[in-house]
């Protein structure tokens, strides 16, 4: 091995250190660019749409005239959809999580369902739309209704709730269950009176995150048959419907600049709703993060 003189070593070291600093800068640049794009996106939206966000915008029906167009029916549609989807996903998801964590044990069905859930989470949302179209709209005869849309979104967010509820139930220490069993409680009494109350904040957090996913979904609702122009308030679960993302999509696709402003205003409303929901989830998580006494 050739000996390296002190000069070569110093030069080599300087080069390596310079490269290191350049790489550090490059990595920092990547983060700054990513955050910068988020900033550009948000600033652009506010600039485009802020002037249109007011009470009238929230309470007006869509219109052919961009300056009169509002999101009343779309917002109501989104709220109803999230309620239906949330209910379906909550019942099925929490039930499934309780079964998987407390009943199934190491049974093979547990593994099958776990693999299945992780695969379902990767299915493109538009494919759920086709499922909803064929099963809910056509086979079950619900038509292009709020119920069909809500059920479709419910199945779409089901994996999110199952995974969150499983985590929350897993976090309840087993000493709690053993104590209850020791006093003669049945499995369900233990779950209902001890496990679920402790797991509830975690489940609720998952529930909020799932709802915020459901509220932003567009593609499956288009396939299920959401309307872009709904000049009435949906009055029954079987009513035809619009949703906020559908309205935004429709306005974006039109050529008039006035509709683009309305779309930006709709996006601001949508993002504020999402922000509020996620903030609620974070607050909830922090509030209940203190370890349960067990």
């Amino acid at each position: 091995m050739a000996a390296i003189g002190p000069t070569e070593f110093t030069q080599g070291m300087a080069r390596r250190k310079w490269r290191g600093r350049a790489f550090h800068g490059l990595c920092l640049l990547a983060v700054v660019m990513a955050l910068g794009m988020l900033a550009v996106l948000l600033i652009y939206l506010v600039l485009q749409g802020w002037a249109r966000v007011n009470w009238e915008f929230l309470t007006s029906f869509p219109s052919r005239h961009p300056e009169q167009a509002g999101i009343h029916s779309a917002l109501l549609g989104s709220i109803y959809l999230v309620i239906i989807a949330g209910f379906v996903a909550f019942v099925l998801g929490v039930g499934a999580a309780i079964y998987l964590e407390e009943y199934a044990g190491r049974h093979w069905i547990n593994r099958v369902i776990q693999v299945n859930i992780s695969n379902l989470a990767g299915v493109p949302s538009i494919v759920y739309g086709l499922l909803g179209l064929e099963i809910f709209v056509r086979s079950l005869g619900l038509g292009k209704s709020l119920l069909a849309g809500g059920f479709t979104l419910g199945l779409l967010v089901l994996p999110i709730i199952i995974i969150a509820a499983e985590e929350a139930i897993k976090a309840v220490p087993s000493s709690v269950r053993e104590g209850a069993y020791g006093l003669g409680a049945t499995r369900w009494q233990t779950i209902w009176h001890l496990v679920l109350p402790q797991a509830f904040p975690g489940i609720l957090t998952g529930m909020i995150l799932a709802s915020s996913r459901a509220i932003g979904e567009t593609a499956p609702l288009i396939v299920v048959g959401a309307l872009a122009f709904v000049p009435f308030t949906p009055d029954s679960p079987f009513s035809r419907f619009s949703a906020l993302p559908i309205q935004i999509f429709n306005w974006t696709a039109r050529p008039q600049a006035g509709f683009h402003e309305a779309a930006a205003a709709g996006i601001i409303v949508l993002l504020v709703v999402l922000l509020a929901m996620n903030a609620a989830a974070v607050i909830l998580r922090n509030k209940f993060q203190s370890p349960p006494e067990g």
């Binding site: 390596r16 250190k17 490269r19 290191g20 790489f23 550090h24 990595c27 920092l28 990547a30 983060v31 660019m33 990513a34 794009m37 988020l38 996106l41 652009y44 939206l45 485009q48 998801g93 039930g95 499934a96 309780i98 079964y99 009943y103 199934a104 299945n116 992780s118 695969n119 379902l120 990767g122 299915v123 493109p124 949302s125 538009i126 494919v127 759920y128 086709l130 499922l131 064929e134 099963i135 199945l155 089901l158 049945t186 369900w188 915020s212 509220i215 932003g216 979904e217 593609a219 288009i222 396939v223 993302p245 935004i248 999509f249 974006t252 683009h260 996006i267 949508l270 999402l274 996620n278």
Partner: protein, 313 residues
Amino acid sequence: MVELAGRPPASSEGYRRSHDWRRRLPERIIGFSLLLCASASILTTVGIVSVLIFEAAHFFGQVSIFEYLGGTRWTPLFASKQFGVLALLAGTILTAGGSMVVALPLGVLSAIYLSEYAHDGVRRVCKPILEVLAGIPTVVYGYFALLFVTPLIRGISENVAVFNGISASIVMGIMILPMVSSLSEDAMRAVPRSLREGAYALGSTKLEVSTRVVIPAALSGIVASFILAASRAIGETMIVTIAAGQNPTFTLNPFIPIETMTAYIVQVSQGDTPTGTLEYQTIFAVALSLFVITLGMNSLSQFFVRRFREVYQ
């Protein structure tokens, strides 16, 4: 417990039996209902697969699978119908590939910064903010692509069409960036400190530790994050529907209007295509292809995580 207090058992054997029965029946019913809930996720999968196969079977009864997989022209809505899915697949590959060109370098470099360079406080602030990018509804990105990025690109070159693959790719890259950065960062942070300390003790710089120790050790997780992000880009719908056009073209030219598989499904769904027609069945055939591709990629990513995971004690 309470109801038993005032009632002395006739015989301990009889008490035990009736008590067992009354305690066990509701337990059985509850257990069974919970099993039903758990099977809902299986039923969803069964439903998706059977719906897609059922309708696609009708489609392939009329169109040969070789024409579908080998053709390069896709015109099911025109008078002269041609069913070459390669035209749609090219659009999907172009936009998904373009988004990976944006998301890969930015995502991996961000992950290295957050995992190796950033102070803990910076990391705890930056990571959730980056993840906000993944939580923004895709229709918002579509708006941004069509009305902000496209005019910007057309300002540089007049030859770019209003609907094009490149602005959809760039914006989709921003959307999937946090997927790459967060999952890669998790993988890098799972590399034990002792490996880094060993390399530092031998005189390595931070760059050398990052690229020659941390990245190789975390490679399975990083590759898995790439595949997941690509699969997400392939299934992404609204950005490409809004910004890339509805013009199925067998090309990889990012400056002209194209159409992806997902955008085609939206296009047909927006119209009033009667159920049972060949046009209606095409969207199920396209969706089945989409489902197979994404399922394959997700399985591949899980395989990578499992097969190549370095297990540290």
